[in-house]
Amino acid sequence: DAGVTQSPTHLIKTRGQHVTLRCSPISGHKSVSWYQQVLGQGPQFIFQYYEKEERGRGNFPDRFSARQFPNYSSELNVNALLLGDSALYLCASSLDGGRADTQYFGPGTRLTVL
């Protein structure tokens, strides 16, 4: 079975631009979460979606938004990019989004903001 897939792999943008990152969960998984990993740090939680509804949001500004589609894939959007948004963006999927449920991570999208 295919794991979590993310696109694109790498992305270079300039300050002020908008970016959309995409994620396809493991087949049968209904929950998708997004994390930001800045170089040298652990991942930080951005959003969780379950059955197309937002379940939780981390401490990120409103420039960050996301949605989940009927096929459970997800998009993360970031507006008005800042240099500090440069990071590896990880998507994770899980079966039912419960606290004990294992999250499976994709390879990430490396975003560079110039």
Binding site: Q41, G42, G56, R57, T102
Partner: protein, 114 residues
Amino acid sequence: AQSVTQLDSQVPVFEEAPVELRCNYSSSVSVYLFWYVQYPNQGLQLLLKYLSGSTLVKGINGFEAEFNKSQTSFHLRKPSVHISDTAEYFCAVSDFQGAQKLVFGQGTRLTINP
């Protein structure tokens, strides 16, 4: 709020030597604990998790971890490491405030020397 502290940012060891990567957590509720590994330019892969029951948890690739409630620790161990174990290791605690959210430590870079 829950938090995780990984006590060593870097751990160099020789091949076939034992290793312990230390993790302490802070939580006001019952904990679910995880160890993930991140190989260069890849996403995170689950090594093992503690939900309940036996405090000694066995994972993939010969790793194991011991949950110690009194010490609030969840240290990762391997009796004999290989060059292929060179990677970044992250300890995480599952925070459930309406969302499935992993709170990660800063990571420990394990370097295996021949």
